[in-house]
């Protein structure tokens, strides 16, 4: 995975306020199973990602994103557009 930019670090920083269990964040960390986020937490987190990167992540896209690494990839793609 392309980790040459700081996308992953910026995402990691945005996860922190919602990381109530203090889970160590890696590209393989899963939002639902590992972070145990409910739909409301996901909603607020997605809003903060959208603000940070000035992109729109629809619910349809969210359904395809399971891990932090996948999110970083999607954010890079969307930021290019």
């Amino acid at each position: 995975m392309d980790q040459s930019d700081n996308t992953f670090a910026r995402i990691e920083a945005l996860i922190e306020p919602f990381n109530k269990k203090g889970v160590a964040i890696t590209p393989e960390t899963r939002f639902q199973q590992d972070l145990e986020w409910d739909s409301l937490t996901v909603l607020d987190f997605v809003a903060s990602i959208e603000d940070e990167f000035d992109i729109l992540i629809t619910m349809n896209m969210q359904a395809e994103i399971e891990t932090v690494g996948q999110l970083a990839g999607a954010v890079r793609e969307l930021s290019k557009r």
């Binding site: 409301l40 909603l43 603000d51 729109l56 629809t58 619910m59």
Partner: protein, 400 residues
């Protein structure tokens, strides 16, 4: 063989655990007899109904019943056909006329259920390249409409005008946009800030659809709903409603002033590929809708009931979904599913039926005892309801 039902094992287990505790199954209640909009016999016991959405109490209105019987005699038990083939009788046209008059709008289209009205209209309006911006607490029929149309779904935090505006502005300006809102949200009974939300949506170039299922008949000067009460009904492109609440029968509808609205009758699959409502149902609906145009006194009594129940439950120490009564729904928040089920059963044993609502229907994983009032609840009944809540609340430890 891979058992396709295995994915429901966690739910099966949760249900078994709950029922093992000896509690009555809250999702398997049978009404043995129904005496009136507010009283039924359940498990042989006379029970006050406080969870039926029968807001205006039209189910036993003598004119409504007479109209249904007459249509049953004259037109038979069913149409056995689609609205676009052999399923449009004079009664279907008559109820659409009544709706156009009730809402003072140019077009009305009746579906076989409220669920199908949302499913059909949203899936037909918003396709793969269009965006549906919706409140995260939207009804299942709204989400299913988006999925059926394969639309891009953009949710925003419940009733948050700023979040709606922000997300609207991130959508490509040239894309088709539909903002879907509800007048009253049925779980907590709270009202949407439609005035601000409709303004923000229009400024972003979006069309607006408002589901007024839980407000028709008693909110707004003519009972047209929250959009009317907040003065923005003329800016709403589509209003979705139902016959299964204030109207007191079954069916759904969409009303609109859009000049191209009638084409929906040919392209909306949940309208075309299903049988139309039975003649007796549309006859009862038309009679009821016309009577609701003159329901000012009943409306006033319903509000009185809502305020009294809300104030009384608050005083008893229950946690409620809203600080002030905003609709005819009052949600009592339970600490967890087990306590909720115990409280629900205690109420039933004392002769009171409310809805037990739990995830995924509820927001934020809450368990709720949802009460919906009826204009036909007498002041004495509301007093009895409060007494039963007090006794059951103390018995289950929900209140001191």
């Amino acid at each position: 063989m891979n058992d396709l039902l295995s994915k429901f094992d966690p739910l099966i287990e949760q249900r078994e655990k709950l029922l093992e505790s000896g509690v009555t199954d809250p999702f398997n209640l049978v009404m043995e007899r129904v005496e009136s909009p507010t009283v039924a016999i359940c498990n042989g016991r006379r029970t006050i109904l406080l969870g039926t959405y029968n807001y205006m109490g039209m189910t036993f209105d003598p004119d409504v019943i007479a109209a249904g019987k007459k249509a049953l005699d004259e037109f038979g038990s069913g149409t056995t056909g689609s609205r676009v083939l052999n399923g449009t009788y004079v009664g279907h046209r008559a109820v659409e006329d009544a709706l156009r008059e009730f809402y003072a709008m140019d077009h009305a289209m009746v579906f076989s259920t409220g669920y199908q009205a949302n499913l059909g209209v949203i899936s037909t309006l918003a396709g793969k390249d269009d965006y549906v911006v919706l409140d995260i607490d939207s009804h299942a029929s709204i989400y299913d409409g988006c999925a059926m149309g394969n639309a891009q779904i953009v949710p925003f935090r419940h009733n948050d005008v700023g979040a709606l505006e922000k997300r609207l502005n991130r959508i490509p300006p040239e894309a088709g946009k539909l903002v879907v809102l509800e007048g009253v949200y049925s779980m907590m009974g709270d009202v949407a800030p439609l005035k601000e939300m409709v303004a923000v949506s229009k400024a972003a170039g979006a069309m607006v659809l408002v589901d007024e299922a839980h407000s028709m008949g008693f909110i707004g000067e003519h009972g047209r709903g929250v959009a009317e009460a907040q003065g923005v009904i003329d800016d709403v492109d589509f209003i979705i409603g139902t016959f299964s609440k204030s109207v007191g029968t079954v069916g759904g509808f969409c009303v609109s002033n859009h000049p191209k609205f009638e084409i929906l009758r040919l392209v909306c699959r949940p309208y075309v590929f299903t049988a139309s409502l039975p003649p007796s149902v549309v006859a009862t609906a038309a009679t009821s809708v016309r009577k609701l145009m003159h329901g000012a006194e009943k409306r006033a009594h319903l509000w009185e009931n809502s305020k009294r129940l809300h104030g009384g439950l608050k005083q008893l120490g229950f946690t409620l979904g809203t600080d002030e009564p905003q609709s005819a729904i009052i949600a009592v928040i339970m600490p967890d599913l087990e306590t909720g089920a115990a409280m629900w059963e205690a109420l039933l044993k004392e002769g009171l039926y409310v809805n037990l609502a739990r995830p995924p229907a509820t927001p934020a994983g809450m368990t709720l005892l949802r009460c919906s009032l009826c204009a036909e609840h007498s002041s004495d009944q509301v007093g009895e309801v409060l007494n039963i809540f007090a006794a059951a609340g103390r018995a289950t430890g929900c209140i001191q």
